[in-house]
């Protein structure tokens, strides 16, 4: 048999490409194992194992979905955001700080709702040194971006549904899954946006 | 009988460096259980150590000592082959004795 050098290169490339991803998709195996082995507990039902459109898209593409699909789903998520009917987005930043500190809620040993667990992943106020780095620092959030209505809307919207802005963000969709109430989200928005908030000093 | 201790005795010259791990809940009598009831006091009150049958260490212990405590002390005049035995007694009258043979110096 004879091989051209171009032919050999093509074969080598094909072999390497087939090694870059597993031989087959193991997600179906993983899903059937999980469906069989998990059970509901407390408020955490088995339905939580089911992917919604966002999770499915992110799981399928390892958090890197095609541009067009991402844009479409982000738009869908955005249109489902419930904005406060009174048009006011700022609540009480002092209450917001307490909500940001509270990491409870939504787990099987919990109730629904409770806190935003913001400090788990973010720096927020200047006086709390026990903050996580999974997400970017939110210190001086409005000081850096401006205090206008458009930034207020961006902050509220992100808290309500971070996936509306970045489809495969690791940030939970607090409003969308009712982990936070409208008032709590207003209070968190104030924590980030109020000129008097320690975040903006 | 209560759970076993873990005793480690290493010779440095004629001094034995003794470290004892004890399994004990060491309840202070101040903790409340899940139902809100006070968990009664249950802690080691006395520890003694004997080298070849002779008491070389005795301690009165209060409930301030933590759960599964470690006790460390040194004993002079120890030799390889000596029997070191540790006994504890708690406020409920429960007792435990464990023994090791001191190994040669490393």
């Amino acid at each position: 048999m004879r091989f051209s050098s171009a032919g050999l290169l093509a074969v080598a490339a094909a072999l390497l490409a087939s090694c870059a991803t597993p031989q087959r998709d193991y997600l179906p195996d993983a899903l059937s194992l999980m469906q069989r082995d998990f059970h509901a507990r407390g408020i955490a039902g088995l339905d939580r194992l089911n992917e919604d459109s966002v999770q499915a898209a992110c799981n399928k593409a390892q958090d890197n979905p095609p541009q067009e699909l991402a844009a479409k789903l982000e738009k869908e998520q955005f249109s489902a955001i419930k904005w406060p009917t009174d048009g006011k987005l700022l609540g009480d930043w002092k209450a917001g700080e307490r909500i940001a500190q509270n990491g409870q809620g939504m787990a099987w040993n919990d109730k629904g709702g409770v806190g935003g667990s913001c400090y788990n992943c973010h720096q927020v106020g200047p006086r709390e040194s026990s903050f996580g780095t999974v997400g970017p620092s939110l210190y001086q959030f409005a000081k850096k971006r401006g205090y206008g209505a458009d930034i207020q809307r961006y902050a509220y919207g992100k808290i309500y549904n971070a996936k509306a802005y970045n489809l495969c963000s690791q940030m939970p969709r607090f409003g969308h899954v009712r982990a936070l109430t409208e008032q709590q989200m207003k209070d968190l928005t104030a924590l980030l946006m109020d000129p008097a908030s320690p975040v903006n000093q | 009988m209560a759970d076993p201790m873990k005793i480690r005795a290493t010779l440095q010259g004629e001094v034995a460096d003794v470290r004892v791990l004890m399994a004990h809940p060491m309840e202070t009598g101040q903790r409340k259980d899940a139902a809100g009831k006070i968990v009664p006091m249950h802690f080691i009150q006395a520890i003694t150590a004997q080298l070849n049958g002779k008491t070389v260490f005795a301690a009165d212990v209060s409930q301030s000592v933590s759960r599964n405590p470690v006790f460390a002390f040194k004993v002079k005049g120890a030799k390889a082959g000596d029997k070191l035995s540790i006994t504890w007694q708690d406020n409920k009258g429960d007792k435990r004795t464990d023994e090791v043979v001191i190994g040669a110096a490393i």
Partner: protein, 266 residues
């Protein structure tokens, strides 16, 4: 051609471990070494050995003939080579799942009894926890070498990897949400990147571990359970295949590193 494919597809996760040159990590290692000198986990090792040899259960039998993968009754080195495939159950099992299996088959215990309250509390340490602590201690100082020979061992690794990356639950979290990137922390707790060999060791080292907060002994079955809780998932079954698969993924990623035995935690 097939031979060439096999050579080119050689397992890429067997990389040389690079030591992290991080001064904070070095200080924590020193602290951990001091704490590990008199680790109360040793009390559970001793208890576990007692349980291994004791006649217990409806069959009034010891666990001494349990095959942990290296032959009936061979405990030394077994933990470092788990999870692995077992022909008698035709699946991959992690250490604790295998111990539970032996408690059922050799001693006559029922899975439902053992799964009822499988995790340590302030007042009770379940037998499998002491047993897995004893078994783990017998691999102290040995290199982790979870096998990847049997087709089911290879498939279980991949399934575990898929579970690790599966985003779901109320918060859209996967294991990778916290453990899939470098240099992240949750509050002040560092989050190792378990997808990388040099960091995956931190998933395995220190477990089973004695938790000073509350003075309880916890194994990897507990740790996986508690992760899913924090991920806002429903609850995984105790000692199930899902957990074995996840542990296979983490352990194989850590292969080559030395296991220092049961650890101690805040």
């Amino acid at each position: 051609m097939l031979g060439l494919a096999a050579a080119v597809c050689a397992v890429p996760w067997q990389q040389a471990a690079a030591q992290a040159a991080d001064p904070t990590a070095a200080e924590f290692d020193k602290f951990r070494e001091i704490m590990e000198q008199d680790n109360p986990a040793e009390l559970f090792e001793v208890k576990g050995e007692e349980l291994w040899r004791a006649r217990r259960g409806p069959k009034n039998a010891p666990l001494e003939q349990c095959d942990l993968g290296l032959g009936a009754g061979v405990v030394k080195g077994a933990y470092a080579q788990l999870p692995r495939y077992f022909a008698d159950v035709d699946r991959v099992m992690d250490a604790e799942a295998r111990i539970v299996h032996c408690m059922i088959t050799l001693q006559g215990f029922k899975y439902e009894e053992l799964a009822k309250q499988p995790f340590s509390s302030l007042v009770r340490t379940p037998e499998p926890v002491s047993l897995v602590t004893y078994v783990a201690a017998q691999s102290r100082g040995m290199k982790i070498a979870a096998p990847q020979n049997h087709p089911k061992e290879l498939a279980t690794y991949e399934t575990g990897k898929a579970i690790f990356h599966y985003r779901a639950g109320a918060f859209d979290f996967s294991c990778a949400s916290c453990h899939g990137a470098d240099d992240k922390r949750i509050r002040t707790q560092p989050l190792p990147n378990f997808t990388k060999p040099e960091q995956a060791i931190r998933a395995v080292q220190g477990w089973p571990g004695y938790r000073m907060t509350g003075g309880v002994m916890h194994s990897l079955q507990w740790r996986m359970n508690d992760c899913f809780r924090q991920q806002r998932f429903p609850e995984p079954g105790y000692a199930t295949e899902t957990i074995s698969a996840l542990l296979a993924y983490l352990t194989v990623n850590a292969n080559g590193h030395v296991y220092r035995g049961p650890g101690i935690k805040r």
